[in-house]
């Protein structure tokens, strides 16, 4: 599972969705794999405004990526774009769980 996907996942329970603790889901026992995929600068520039930045910071920190800026940048240069590409698109969680912070339900990741 890609980190970009986790920015778009919440608990499946309707009752949890309205609760702030249900987003983002939290990784447990995550095992990472680093892929190498073509960098698409325009794609990264266009998904940037769509990303929920505080949720991305939480997820990234749980996986050990701590060098993202605290505030969402308005635009990214090539270097920052490549870094986002590496985290959002190339990093895969291949084993582990995603846990809802509200009800504790977990979604297993098993690629």
């Amino acid at each position: 599972m890609k980190i970009l996907t986790t920015n778009y996942l919440t608990c499946a329970l309707r009752a949890c969705k309205s609760h702030p603790n249900s987003f983002p889901l939290h990784f447990r026992d995550a095992e990472l794999q680093q892929d190498s995929l073509p960098f698409n600068a325009a794609f990264i520039a266009n998904i940037l405004p769509r990303i929920d930045w505080p949720a991305l910071l939480t997820t990234a920190a749980e996986l050990g990526f701590t060098n993202l800026p605290a505030e969402k940048p308005d635009t990214v240069d090539e270097k920052a774009g490549m870094e986002l590409h590496r985290i959002l698109i190339e990093t895969q969680v291949v084993e582990g769980k995603l846990v809802c912070g509200n009800c504790g339900h977990d979604m297993r990741i098993n690629e």
Partner: protein, 238 residues
């Protein structure tokens, strides 16, 4: 047709069937339908969306400039979809989608909603899909979903159904020999060397998809008929 327990009914006559036929089904599903392909290719670069009931994930890689999270009720089909490395897919139920509300630019749900066995559940599925889409406001159009369902009116097809026929039907899936090695499962009929599985469908009448979308609180932007299917593009209302 009144089904006493639609959840159990769909588990037997839809979910289990797809689990058993997954590899064979997938081998027959590789060509994107033209209207779906156009819908995906017309999206702006960086658009993020869902494929609800993505099956083997054949639409996930049609446009490499967008990002699609595919989901399906069948773990076997998701296992096949996983091969598409630039996109992502997961096991989920269309009635309980694990996605936040109002964040997505688009969604597609192709040949899925017709497997729900009551009007209430079909509208529930449409409502869950609409809920994921960006809500239109004064400065932007909001997200759009493309929905495809099998039509009752398909006189010229191999099945030959037409107006006035029963809408709730079982459709046989005849498993070819090469895929039936492990398929000694319940719900199949052994017929010589071939196994036949019966899948449940609700065949849509003309105008019914639009009516269901309206009942689910959506707005139909465009709709039509293509090769034995009714389709509609819809969005949430302001």
């Amino acid at each position: 047709m009144e089904i006493v327990n639609p959840e159990e009914y769909e588990a037997s006559h839809v979910h289990r069937v797809y689990e058993h036929i997954a590899p064979h089904f997938s081998a027959t599903r590789f060509k994107p339908w033209p209207i779906v392909e156009k819908f995906l290719c017309d999206l702006p670069i960086g658009a993020i969306g869902l494929d609800v009931g993505c099956g083997n994930g054949k639409y996930l890689s049609v446009n490499p400039d967008i990002f699609i999270v595919g989901s399906d009720r069948s773990p076997s089909l998701i296992g096949i979809a996983r091969g598409r490395e630039t996109q992502d897919s997961l096991v989920a139920d269309a009635l309980d989608l694990p996605h936040p509300d109002s964040r997505f630019d688009f969604a597609i749900s192709i040949a899925v909603i017709h497997h729900f066995s009551s009007l209430e559940r079909r509208c529930h599925a449409l409502r869950s899909i609409l809920a994921t889409l960006k809500v239109p406001n004064n400065s932007s159009d909001g997200g759009r979903a493309l929905i495809y369902v099998w039509a009752l009116e398909q006189k010229k097809s191999r099945r030959g159904w037409d107006e006035g026929d029963r809408q709730d039907v079982f459709v046989p899936w005849v498993m070819s020999k090469q895929f039936s090695t492990s398929a000694k499962a319940k719900g199949s009929q052994q017929n010589g060397q071939e196994l036949t599985y019966m899948r449940y469908y609700h065949l849509y009448r003309k105008g019914e998809l639009e009516a269901d979308i309206a009942r689910a609180g959506g707005r139909v932007l465009e709709s039509g008929y293509e090769k034995d299917n009714w389709w509609a593009i819809c969005s949430p209302v302001k």
